[in-house]
Amino acid sequence: MAIVVLLRKELLEQWRARRLLVLGVAFLFFGLLSPVTAKLTPELIKLAGASAPGLVIQIPPPSVADAVAQYIKNLSQILPLVVLLATMGSVAGEVERGTLPMVLAKPVGRGTVLAAKYLGLAAALLIAQLLGALAAYYYTQVLFGGLELGAFVAMNLAAGLYLLVILSLTFLASTLVRSTVAAGALAFGFWVLLLIVSSLPRVGQHTPPALLAWAAQLGTGQPNGSHWGALWASVALIAVCLIAAWLHFRQEEL
């Protein structure tokens, strides 16, 4: 099966080109950092206040909700950017380097090549998020305790779907243009557009970024209202990205 051969190549490439390492280390780092930051931030602020005589700062003791909020903040701001940077060259980079013609001159379909690439990237993202989540869960339990496993898993599934949206937008951008840098810029543009649309009243709650608010509520065990619209919008957007990438790539003249 050509897709198995291609998927093996993609995974081996992620490993040898250190892409998996970069993603894994980034997720692990921010997974560890989130509960630590939540725990230490009040202490740091108190220290800052101590240098100003007469200033009294009253901060409630940090809780598990603060650790979850910090984790979601990292998953929504820094880690999507890491995903974007690590995956923007997936197709454009190969077009740029000229490695595709000898592959596509073999009896394999272009859709198969794209599918293997996307699955390889999604697998790398899954592994990285799993590492980050394990680190975050462990340290949150150590520093705060009381984090429910089911709620934490549900939160990660919702946040993971958002990251998959970012990956899909980046993948589409990488298919549409012929240089890695241009793909990165276009993917960043898509992301900004998504954030702008998500800030619109009424529409915003049905866009992928709303998954993050849902994830935060799930993580603290306080679901507030239905977010199924955001979920279905995310699934639809991923499908649109993949179909558009395939339609463009099958006509691409290499």
Partner: protein
């Protein structure tokens, strides 16, 4: 027997630019076929269409009687393709790349390993098989490119300018390799290095401005299209002779290199009759006078400039 390659009315346009303009071509099986043309003549475009990487705007391209298309992966099973500048995954080793190529062709396990090793021997890369391709020289990459194109024992091997970017040693190796493939498969080789074609190719097609200008065996091509050529060597430079000859109506062109004049004639009989008389009349000291064998370059220049 079916032609190994058949193109009929092959046309490719990029906006207003016409890269191929109704190319008709038939390549017989099991020959080394030279596909000649100046830069921009449409050679690479033809290669890419035959390799299933580009769709023609009009016309058809068939390999072994099957129409090749980017949308039909099965149609590429009989084709092996080496692009002009083959790019590999630099993080793979040579053997890994051949196993990858074998996997894409449906081979696995021992069959794939055996084929990879056979090809590493054929292209003389067995010693370097475990090294990453990123550190390979251009010649090694070109040989590996030929090996990956041969993995599936293709009926037709498409080589796009296989020796153009190589140093003399790399070129010698690659040409020797292509020579060894003679009779095993049809080699369709585009190039603008005429010496390579003269050495390797039994049959030649010349394209210019996206159209077929001529196709024949090498010798036939020379006889059919070459204008008669005369070479004169004098003891000293002969500017008066040069000027006189350039004014003669039966002379198509005169090329000068040191004391040698190379005269392309329009009228062979008149040239034979009048040339010695002109030399004698001008009192030039003649060292050599001969009617030269036209080269492929003479044919090429004449057809492409026409």
């Amino acid at each position: 027997m079916d032609a190994a390659i058949a193109c009929r009315g092959l046309t490719k346009r990029y906006g207003s630019v016409v890269a191929l303009d109704g190319l008709d071509l038939e390549v017989p099986p099991r020959v080394i076929f030279g596909f000649l043309g100046p830069n921009g003549a449409g050679k690479t475009t033809t290669m890419k269409i035959l390799a299933g990487l580009l769709a023609p705007t009009a016309g058809v391209a068939c390999v072994g009687g099957i129409e090749v298309s980017p949308h039909d992966p099965g149609s590429r099973r009989r084709v092996g393709y080496l692009p002009e500048e083959p790019s590999f995954y630099g993080w793979m080793t040579a053997r890994e790349y051949l196993l990858f190529a074998a996997g894409l062709l449906g081979m696995a396990g021992r069959e794939a390993a055996r084929r990879a090793d056979e090809l590493l021997d054929l292209v003389d890369l067995r010693q370097a098989s475990g090294r990453r391709i990123g550190g390979f020289s251009r010649g090694m990459r070109q040989r590996l490119g030929i090996a990956q194109a041969l993995v599936g024992r293709p009926a037709v091997l498409l080589l796009d300018e296989p020796s153009s970017a190589l140093d003399p040693l790399g070129r010698r190796d690659v040409l020797g390799l292509i020579e060894r493939l003679a009779g095993e498969t049809t080699v369709f080789m585009s190039t603008h290095i005429l010496a390579d074609v003269e050495r390797l190719c039994q049959e030649v097609a010349i394209v210019a401005r996206g159209r077929l200008v001529a196709q024949a065996g090498q010798n036939e091509l020379r006889h059919r299209y070459a204008a008669p050529i005369f070479e004169i060597e004098t003891a000293a430079p002969a500017p008066a002779l040069l000027e006189r000859l350039r004014g003669e109506p039966w002379v198509a062109r005169v090329d000068q290199e040191a004391n040698v004049l190379r005269i392309t004639a329009r009228d062979e009989q008149r040239a034979r009759r009048e040339l010695p008389q002109i030399i004698a009349a001008l009192g030039e000291q003649l060292l050599r006078y001969q009617q030269a064998q036209p080269t492929l370059e003479d044919v090429f220049v004449r057809l492409v400039e026409a």
